[in-house]
Assembly symmetry: none
Homo-oligomer: 195 residues x 4
Amino acid sequence: MVAVARTAAERGREVRQQLVGAARELIAERGWSAVSTRMLAERAGVAPGLVHYHFASLPALLTEAAIGAMRSAVEEIGQLLDQAGTPAQMLDRMLTALEVHTGRDPLSLLFTETYLAATRDDDLRAAVSGIVVDLRDRLARWLGGHGISEPERTAAVLAAAIDGVVLHRALQPDLTARTVAPILRGILRTEGERG
Amino acid sequence: MVAVARTAAERGREVRQQLVGAARELIAERGWSAVSTRMLAERAGVAPGLVHYHFASLPALLTEAAIGAMRSAVEEIGQLLDQAGTPAQMLDRMLTALEVHTGRDPLSLLFTETYLAATRDDDLRAAVSGIVVDLRDRLARWLGGHGISEPERTAAVLAAAIDGVVLHRALQPDLTARTVAPILRGILRTEGERG
Amino acid sequence: MVAVARTAAERGREVRQQLVGAARELIAERGWSAVSTRMLAERAGVAPGLVHYHFASLPALLTEAAIGAMRSAVEEIGQLLDQAGTPAQMLDRMLTALEVHTGRDPLSLLFTETYLAATRDDDLRAAVSGIVVDLRDRLARWLGGHGISEPERTAAVLAAAIDGVVLHRALQPDLTARTVAPILRGILRTEGERG
Amino acid sequence: MVAVARTAAERGREVRQQLVGAARELIAERGWSAVSTRMLAERAGVAPGLVHYHFASLPALLTEAAIGAMRSAVEEIGQLLDQAGTPAQMLDRMLTALEVHTGRDPLSLLFTETYLAATRDDDLRAAVSGIVVDLRDRLARWLGGHGISEPERTAAVLAAAIDGVVLHRALQPDLTARTVAPILRGILRTEGERG
DNA sequence: CATGAATGAGTTTTCATTCAT
DNA sequence: CATGAATGAAAACTCATTCAT
C-alpha cells in the first residue's frame, strides 16, 4: 500500500516546503521587499493564515528560503570542483554551468536580491557571509592544490567576477560563457607565471 | 547680498532636486521597492503632496534619480580614462576610485538596486542598458587604443568584474583595491601576449 | 435559547450584508461616485479594512448592492402583475406602489444613480440591461395577454415613463400617482381601439 | 484689421466660457461628483489656478454650466412649440429633436446628472426646479391652446415621460422616436375624447 | 494542523483650495 | 488677469499579523 493518507505532520512539512518554494520564486519575480504573505499563500496554494503558522514572520520565511537555495548552489559548485582536472577545465565547466543563469532567471535574481537584503538585515548578513566565505575557502583550496598562485585572493576575485557577470547578463544578454571564459582565464596564473 | 528671495520656479526646481537626492539615499538605505512617498518627503524636508506634484509617479522619481546618478558616474569614469597613461595605471586608478565604494555605501547599493529594478521595469531597463553599453564602448575604445587585445570582450568582463567586486565587498570588507588589483590585472593582455 | 455565538463564516456573511445595505443607502444619499470606503465602513459599523476584505473593489461592492436592489424590485413588480385583473387596475396598483417613491427616497435615487453609472461601467451596464429587459418582457407578455395592442412597445414606453415620473418627482413633489394615472392610462390601448 | 489683440477683459470672458464648456463635457463623461478642477483646467486648456480665479468654488462652476445648458434646451423647445401646428405634429417634432439624444450623449447625461445633483444641493434644486416648471407651464399653455384636455397634468406627464425615454435609451438603444411616438401619442387627448 | 475573518496602519495617488509672484 | 507651486486631507487599496473556531 502506498501512502495515500499522510499524517498531519507530513502535510505540515509539505506546506512548509511549498511556502519556501513560493518564496524563492517570488523574491526573484518581485524583489525581496515586495513579497507579501498573501502572494506567498496564493502561490503556494495554501490558506493565508498558514504563513504565520509555520514561520515566525515574513522575513524569517524569506531568509530560510534564500539561505537554503544558496547552500544548495554552493554544494553543486563543490561537486563541480571535485570533478574538474585542470584550472582551465574548471573555469569552463563553471561558466558552462552558469550558462543556465541568464541573469534574469529566478536563481540569479534570488541571489542578488539576497546580497542586497543582507545589507539591511544582520541575521541574514551573517548567514550569507558564512556561505560565501565557505565557497571562497573551498575554491581557494582547490586553486592552491592545482598550482595557482595567490589562491585566496584569486578565489575571492573569481567569485566576485562571476557574480558580476551574472548581474550584468541581466541587462546584456550577449555576455555568454563563450565570450567571458577566455578573458576571465587571465585571472588564473600558475606559480612562477606571475611577473 | 544676492537673491535671498527666489522665484516660485526656482523654489520648485530646488524641491525637485531635494526629492531626487532623497530618493538616491533611500533606495540605497531601504531598497528600491521599499522606498515610500512619505519617507521621501520627510527626508527631503518637504510636504508629502509635493512628491506627486513634481513627479508623475513614485517609480518615475526613482528612475530619474537612479539614471541621473549612473550618468554622473559614467562621466567620471570617462574623465579617469582620459587621464590614464597605461592600462595598468588605468586599472589602479579605477580600483582606487572605487575604494570609496565599500559595497555598503550609498552609491554602490543604489547601482545594484537599479540593476535589479531594471529587471522588472521596461523603461528603467532601457535607460540602464543604454548607460552600461555606453560605458563599455568607451572602455573598449580606450583599451583598443592602448594595445589590449580583444578590447570589447575585455571591457565587458572588466565592467562586470568590477561591479561584482563592489557587490561582494558589501559582505566581505577585506576585498580592497590592493587585494583585487594584481589579480584582476590578468584580464588585460596586450596583443601577441595572448597564448 | 439557540445560537447566540455565531461561527466566523456567519459573522462574515453578516458583515457583507451590512456593507451592501450601507452601499444602497449611501449611493442614494451622496451619489454613486461620491461613496467612499470609509463612509461605507462607518455606516455599516465595521472596520475600514473589511470593505476590501469582502469585496474585490469599491465598484464591485456598489454594483452588487445596486443589482441586488434592482432584482428585488423587479420581483415585486412581477408579483404585482400576477395579482392584477385588468390593465387599468394594474396601472393603478403600480402607480400606488410607486407612491412610496417620492423621487427623493433611497430606492428611486439608487435606481437613477445606477442607470447613470451603467453608462460608464461595462459590467454594470450589462447587468442593468439584463434586468430592465427582463422587466419589459414580463410586462409585455402581461399586456399582450390582457388585450393590449403592441404590447412590447407599450411595455417599453410605460417602463420609461414611470422612471421619468419618479425622476421628475424628485423636483416636483406634486406629481402624485393620482395626478399621473389618468393621463398615463392613455398609453394602454386595447386591440381595435387604436385608430 | 481684425481684432487679433483682445483686451484682458475679453480674454477673461473667453477663459470663463471655455471652463463652462469643459464642465458640461466632463459632467456627462465622468459624473457630477467625479469632475475635478485639474481635469477642468486641462480640458479647457487653461492654467489650474484659473478655476478658482473665475469661480467661487467647483460646485459653483458646475452649477453655472448645468443651468446654462438647461436654459438653452428649454429655449429650443419653446421655439419648437411656436412652429408646430397640431399636437401630433408637435409630439413628432419633439421626439425627432430628441433623436439626437441617444441617452448616452453629453446633453442627456448632463441633464440627468443635474437632476440627481439637484437632489443634494439646495441652490441647484431651486434653479433646476424653476426651469422645469417654466417648461411645463409653456407646454401646458400650448396644449390647452390646441384643444388638449387637462393640459397641466398632460404637460407634466409628457415632460417626465420624455426624460424617462431618454434615460432608458442609454441602456436600450432600440427605443427610437419611431418606436415611442405612436404609443406616447395616447397621452394627448382632445376635450370630449376622454371617457 | 488548519482556517479565514478581522484589524488598523500602511501604501500610492488625487483632491480643492490658497497664495506669492 | 494669470501662473503654478504648495498644502494637508482624503481617496482606494494592500499589508503583516492575530486569533477564535
